[in-house]
């Protein structure tokens, strides 16, 4: 199997707290992977390790065959942070143009393309601070896509997003994956999980289960993913 993202015995400790506790996995290209787990389970730290934003205490990560951290490799990675991470005083177009520039994109048409992809083409000249919450999330996604990265990390991309926009977002993610982009989406919303090709249940810094949604439900013998998560977390009694 081709490997887009690889984690090898990844460990990250902050003082006495172990945020990521020995994770190892390979992720294939052109798939959508869901990192599912409660708040504080280590999802964001894992994404920061995979993007090279923080150094592992032990182990290592590779993205597209390159050991992270590696600055030039960041040009092939898109990252949508939990917060909007956009400049409120700039217009939507200026935000996307700025990120295109720092990613080294020279083709101005990419900005138009990214804004159109998230349905903000007609808001290009609108100052980001005056966009609605949903529009700001869409702009944030456009800024992560503007350089057409083959690997995309999305940290809780649908937090605060209304159901209609959430459906649109997943439509974008699926189209990108079909075009060959590897997408890692972190979420604590279980009902989004079935839209992923594969799920990694994360708890206390470890991957406690991995597989397709149906596969995990069947293995856990539960009707929904939330109960399956609790089953794998060893809290079946609570779930019942």
């Amino acid at each position: 199997m081709d490997v887009a993202i690889r984690a090898v015995d990844l460990v990250k400790r902050f003082g006495t707290v172990t945020a990521v506790d020995g994770m190892s996995f390979d992720l294939a290209p052109g798939q959508i992977y869901g990192l599912l787990g409660p708040n504080g389970s280590g999802k964001t730290t894992l994404i920061r390790l995979l993007t090279g934003m923080t150094k592992p205490t032990a182990g290592h990560a590779e993205v597209l065959g390159v050991r992270m951290p590696d600055r030039p490799n960041l040009a092939r990675i898109g990252y949508m942070t939990q917060g909007d991470g956009i400049y409120p005083a700039l217009t939507a177009g200026e935000n996307a143009t700025f990120f295109a520039a720092v990613y080294g994109v020279e083709d101005a048409a990419r900005v138009t393309e990214a804004l159109a992809l998230v349905g903000l083409a007609d808001r290009r000249g609108t100052v980001a601070a005056t966009l609605s919450g949903g529009q700001r999330r869409r702009l944030s996604l456009a800024c992560a896509l503007v350089h057409r990265p083959p690997v995309l990390f999305l940290d809780e991309p649908t937090v605060g997003v209304d159901p209609l926009l959430r459906v649109q977002f997943w439509g974008h993610f699926r189209a990108l994956a079909d075009a060959g982009t590897t997408i890692v989406v972190s979420s604590h919303v279980m009902d989004e999980a079935d839209r992923c090709d594969e799920l990694l249940f994360v708890r206390d810094g470890r991957v406690i289960a991995r597989g397709g949604g149906a596969e995990l439900r069947a293995e856990a013998g539960t009707a929904d993913l939330e109960a399956a998560f609790l089953h794998f977390a060893g809290e079946g009694a609570v779930a019942a």
């Binding site: 090279g52 934003m53 960041l74 917060g83 991470g85």
Partner: protein, 375 residues
């Protein structure tokens, strides 16, 4: 007014501030430190060290002898100088801080020559010399009290006092505003999540600091240009209808090149950009960026010769003066404004070199505060 709601709000405000240790420190400790420093400077500022040179005329036997003795009583070191041109050269090159030119006969007045760069400090020196003169006149029985004229090597002592104050004020306010603007902007970059996102791109830390420096440098350039134009220029506007004629601009005289003054302030401003980026690391809110002012900027204001002449500061504080970037800018600006110094003047060269080094140093430590493990 609902007392329960009121109590809840008060409790929240108190809890919030109680947990904000930097704010607590600034609220309670900073005022003590600043007022303590001001009081210490005001109380302990003594007569500056005066190195006087005396040009003796034929009155040597009448006044010079008692005067030298009186000057030494005041703690003034005295050397003999050949003539007035030699005295002016000695003042200009710093061999003496003040020259006393005694008159050729009893009808003439005594001329005191200083370099004119720091009128406040020179005023204190002149005061010390005048005390000695009175004492000398008393001991030289029969001599009438001498008249004293003050002249300066650069500028004229009767100038508007703002002449010496303006260079310091221009430097200080540029430093102040550039620091606040950069500190707040970069804090927003840190807290708004854009810095994290930026660091997930191939951008380097040097590019971030460089980009900020140039970006704010543009605003600093405009700010400095406006401030210098406002300070140096005077535009006379004639009467318009019932409005009488008036002048716009401060019209402060400048002996040197405005471009050199611009260069001094711009280097200071570049250092202020990096300082703002560096200190934003230690702030969590915009208020905290402002709260650093008493810690970072107030000591510079007090110890850089803006308000108190450096030469009159208490000895224990003098070593700190060399650590204040603003001090080099104030001195450089005074060299340009009053002395008319150009790039061949070593004092100005030194000021510019230190300001450039400070800018580079703070840029380096500012880039270290932008954390990313990617090299």
């Amino acid at each position: 007014m609902n007392p329960r709601r009121l109590r809840a709000i008060v409790r929240r405000v108190v809890s919030e501030i109680r947990r904000d240790r930097p704010s607590l420190a600034l609220l309670f400790i900073a005022p003590l430190v600043i007022t303590g420093l001001v009081t210490f400077i005001v109380r302990e500022s003594g007569t500056p060290d005066v190195h006087a040179g005396i040009v003796s005329g034929r009155l040597n036997q009448v006044i010079a002898g008692p005067l030298e003795a009186a000057l030494r009583d005041q703690g003034v070191t005295v050397i003999d100088l050949a003539d007035e041109p030699a005295a002016r050269t000695a003042v200009a090159d710093g061999t003496v801080s003040l020259a006393i030119v005694l008159p050729a006969d009893l009808t003439g007045s005594i001329t005191l020559v200083t370099n004119g760069l720091d009128p406040a400090a020179e005023g204190a020196q002149i005061g010390a010399v005048q005390k000695a003169l009175i004492s000398a006149a008393v001991s030289a029985a029969g001599a009438r009290a001498p008249t004293v004229t003050h002249e300066t090597v650069y500028g004229v002592p009767s100038d508007d006092p703002i002449t010496s104050f303006a260079p310091a004020i221009v430097g200080f306010f540029v430093y102040f505003f550039v620091y606040v603007l950069t500190g707040v902007s970069f804090l927003r970059e840190r807290t708004g999540g854009t810095l994290e996102r930026l660091m997930a791109t191939p951008v380097t830390r040097g590019e971030v600091v460089g980009g900020y420096t140039i970006g704010f440098g543009i605003f600093a350039t405009v700010q400095v240009a406006l401030l210098l134009a406002w300070s140096l220029g005077t535009v006379h506007v004639g009467a318009i209808g019932p409005l009488p004629a008036f002048a716009v601009g401060l019209g402060i005289p400048m002996a040197g090149s405005p471009l050199l003054a611009f260069l001094v302030v711009l280097l200071l401003a570049v250092g202020a950009v990096s300082l703002g980026i560096f200190l934003s690391t230690f702030a969590r809110t915009e208020l905290q960026v402002i709260q650093f002012i008493p810690i970072v900027l107030a000591p510079q204001f007090l110890l850089s010769g803006v308000l108190f002449p450096v030469s009159t500061l208490p000895d224990v504080l003098k070593p700190l003066v060399a650590l204040m970037p603003l001090g080099y800018a104030v001195d450089g600006l005074r060299q340009v404004f009053i002395r008319g110094a150009d790039l061949s003047v070593p004092a100005l060269q030194g000021d510019l070199a230190v300001l450039a080094l400070v800018a580079v140093f703070f840029a380096a430590i500012a880039s270290l505060t932008i954390r990313r493990d990617v090299v």
